[in-house]
Symmetry: T
Subunit: 146 residues, 12 copies
């Protein structure tokens, strides 16, 4: 039976594809969801793919994941840079969490150079575009199989 | 037919009138709503006037506005100073957004001197009290008629 | 008839007891709720004990408290350190608000050393573990009886 | 009889139109002067429109305005960001002063993000291009008629 | 037999009552001493209440307390914000130390927002006026009885 | 024959007396001039008393003083806090220069806490109101008679 | 024929396995080399795996790679945090460069939180231990095959 | 009968004359004391001239002065730059306090550019050498006779 | 016919030769003017050499140069370090501007290490004494002949 | 006859041995005193070994040493990091002063990384535990015999 | 006989011409070498032109130059901004060193705005492209012939 | 048989004696080498004394020392202040490393006040001139014999 993995997306990722395609590429979030499901299938993962614009909902979902999933891939978007609540939520749960950013946050505005969750995730993958989600699923698979 | 304009208000603006009247004046938010509707009428705008204490709801509404309205006037209150999510939401949509602050944020605490959205709005109007909403509607009208 | 007191808890406090027990102790939030009800009884307080992971909900509840309660004890968790919205909400209401932190935030990471609400609360109690809630209720009782 | 309003422009605004049109638009300062006179007429204002590259002259004019005018609209250009003398001059006079910036100073270099006069003006209007002058005159009219 | 508790007060607290009563209230330090003795009696504490303007004397007393008392309540006044010597003294002794501030130090000048001892005390109580001493004694009693 | 002393006043000091009397007192600049002439007489000084709103004029006058006077008393107002040109002008001349501030600049906004000329003047006198000019003349007299 | 990929390791990585195994794990650099060769084989890459303690040598190798390889995976160790020379070298060449860090640099000392090369690499992979090299090779393969 | 004035000197001023004469001049502290007594006589002041190396003693003396003297002239030496206790002591008393520094503290190391007491004294006199004490006594006389 | 070049000197350069000769050398500004004329002759430049202590005049002259000259050599002295107005004036004109400093500003006080105009000039020449003007004229000649 | 050397210890060093033995080792201050006397004997030094918790007393002793001793070894503990008074006292005396720290202050909290006296001592010895006193005595002997 | 001059180039300058031609122009380093030799000939200089990517080699060469050459022109590239070793090497030798940068470092990223060697060179030439080397050779010639 | 000790010197120490003798004294590095060998002999150490201008070589040597020596005395000169590579190399090896600086780095430029290796060495000896090497060897001997 497939093991469940949460893929949790933060604010404005619902606008992917039409939002600043020069920065984020032309793929929509549902394109990424399809890619994740396809690779998840290969890796034996059942993907629970979600998006929200609410910081509190991301916290709720992380707590939910602790009971329901074996790991989390998350791109918390703008909340990555300021949310101590997400930092605490990741510390509060015991499954591995992997951070993904589509764009290279270090090549952008200073306020995107800091991630409040980097210090508590299992690892981070930055700047590879939508492919970052696939790399994160592979990384999670490697962690779970070790 | 009137063009729709969203007027989006952030946290604690529901307390306007009873909250620190020395700072914000004695008008309530529904007084402002009435003024906006009246001037909107003149300018050919249908006003959709809303308030929320939730950062995520402001982001949701901005996405909604992109399809439903020709422009946004927003006073995001406290979230103005810290929200990268609002910054990103405004960049993600293609209609003009105008920032309003009732009080002069530069004459107050240091943490109110920064606005995370100022760099992405069409323009900003600060310190004119409730009249700032009217000025913002006029500014929006000027932008839409050019 | 007992006077109502709101005890408002912020993000991740629902995980208390299982979350980093070395830092926060083994008591769960419902253990603390029981302790609060017991002491509240003694002090003539009806305790309305709540928890949320959403910043906006904390703001909503503070507005609600202004009409429904004689005071608030709050542990806004991670939002304490960044939320101007909470700061404004506390200024917007007229009942006393007391800040509690279970752990000693000054003995932890730098980003926990600042509280955005400390400058507007009636007083703050830090580092006494779950007992901080009891001390806060006593402090509130002293304020209300003076 | 028309009430006098000073419109005071700071350094390099004489180059408007030929200076970085991508940033400031193609209108010259005398185009703006014409627009101000036209709207001034409507609002019952006699416009005294001036430009100088000298910080001291701006200070002189503000003192002069205190006796000669009912209000000031000012775009002090580069001096906005560093001049304590202008800050003090505005505090020293009793008529309302409104700050205008043609470009969105918050979307440009860091040294333009601060305005030394924002904390002492009646209000500020940023980023609407030459139309900002019109909005400022309207705002001044609203202040004077209240 | 009553257990001894040191209540150690730092610089300028001898002027309490006549010093800035708007900030610190009208109670003198000997009024607070009386309140402490009264509550100490209830809690089974013998109170040794002292005041000094000398940083070094506070250090001496903390060392003395380690042998003579079961706990310390201290309001080191101005030295709280700068004294590494007090920080080290508290770390050097093995009994619990509780920090009290009469005024809300976070609502005052920036140089009062930092406490050099907060990271090493058992807990801190800020802003409740003279009642803070009582809350501190209760907190100490709870610690000693657990 | 009386020795000449320049008393050089910077921006906005022409508004003294009517400008923020709570801060600067009710004396006008010509009242101060009279006091200076009177004390100058006693001390054997011919007073050349001037005011300008222009930084460049202050620099011009300092150069002029080097040939025409035996010393300078200066209150450069707002330019004190930012003017490297004044700093250099004082270094470039060989007569003693004394800095005066009417108000206590350290008890005001942070941007007034720095003086760019303090490091190159013979001495500074701050916060004694208009009497500071008299103290400065006495100080200059002491320097010249030693 | 296999395409060549440079895997370039910086200072102290030769000590891997014996150096702080709690931080970096028990694998030696030659273990990692073997893993890279194995996966390289699968992906059609010929791996040129090198280590140096010299910043200048890393710069030399990056220039060499521009002619000899189709991409670079690099873990510049300590030089990541300070080397503008590496930043410039990566900008000077036209093949994709991927940054890897074995440990989670954001969970360590502040001076490791900055990477001078992050803003110019194709993407970065942090904190997955030795497995980061494999993820980087896969990422490079994805880039080269798109 | 002469009115009493305290002249309070801080650490290392006992070494005046032999300590860095290039910086502080060749006068000893007892030379200054004599000068103060002489001018005090003229002004109708009885001078109580003291020196201590102890921060706490300076605080004690300020409290003592509040009852015994009509004003204080103080040169707190090194404690000027760091002592919040002195700041508080000056605020706690109701007689005027005048700050003197022999050397020009702004022309020396950065850590001497700040004075923790400047914001609470009646005025400050910096850089005139030993003559600063005389100027301070005159300033005090002017304050007391107004 | 010779092409015109403006050589524009800022505050205190009129004092050259007598002002701090250890820092600036013994040449006066008119010595430098003569050198410039001589080399200008060789290079086919008519030199318009000016000095002012007024920031606004420098701005005026830069605007004037745009119509009258083929290039500018400028040493804005103290205004280099703070003047955004000069920065904007240089951006507003289309002829090349070259920055010269006589002394090595990086070997002096920190406040001289920044130049507000360096980012908009064609090039800068620092620390070569009066010879810097000659180097600047040669550099301008090279630019104009390419 | 033996030359006298002062060994001056600051706050909390009286608790050595029982205070944080993991940090400071198990030796008490009187053990160190014995070691110093023994090595002093060898080197021809009479050791005057003292400890105080008072900053002012350290200043007093340094002045006393200037007349009574040929050199000073000092470990001012916590006062090292903040005391300008100690800095000034060491500058005010003419005998060599050597700074010792038992623990490696650079491997501890940031506020211990600065020493206010390092810039004025003859040399400093950090991190060698109690043996640092011996090294300091040897260093002093080398200085005195050269 | 020609006097020898070292022209020392730092990291990545070997890539000149193909590296970011929009920034650095299309000339290669050997083109610049030719230009230097040609002008060197005119000025009576034998040019020893070198490039290295190693900070240590630049230090070695500066020491070598002290014996072998009469002056150095250096463009240390990226090491300019961070290398204290180069700063010290230039101080350690007695011949004049001139700093050149091809691009205008002040118009680029913040980390290029600082030069660690500017304070110890004879002069600096910034932003004139490859022509900067020629200007530097002329400047060196002027220094050597004075 | 003598135990081997590496004495590793960083950049510019080869110029000792002729480089700024006012700062570093007149001894050359080979004089220091002789002193080290002489004292090494006494202490039973075989001294391997080296110097390099290359950061990478210092890292190489530290790794080499881990197998070949029982301890290291190092003066990494300029690299002390910036090299994370040296910091990591010292952490990567298991023998004690002692840091020496000839001059008092805290009495010099700010950029020399920080040492990147101080937090990982066994101890540090600063400011005693060439004698610091001897003190370091003694300290190492004490560590090895305990």
């Amino acid at each position: 039976m497939a093991r469940k993995v949460f893929v949790l997306n933060g604010p404005n990722l619902n606008a992917l594809g039409k939002r600043e395609p020069g920065m984020y590429g032309g793929k929509s979030l549902s394109d990424i969801e399809k890619d994740c499901r396809k690779l998840g299938n290969e890796l034996g993962f059942e993907i629970d793919f979600r998006q929200t614009n609410h910081e509190g909902v991301l916290v709720d979902w992380l707590h939910e994941a602790d009971d329901a999933a074996i790991g989390v891939v998350t791109n918390p978007g703008a909340y990555s840079h300021t949310s101590i609540a997400l930092h605490d939520a990741i510390r509060a749960i015991s499954i591995p969490v992997i951070e993904v950013h589509i764009s290279n946050i270090h090549a952008r505005e200073t306020f995107r150079h800091t991630s409040m969750i980097s210090s508590v995730v299992a690892g981070a993958i930055l700047g590879f575009g939508p492919n970052g989600y696939n790399l994160a699923l592979r990384a999670l698979s490697d962690i779970c199989n070790n």
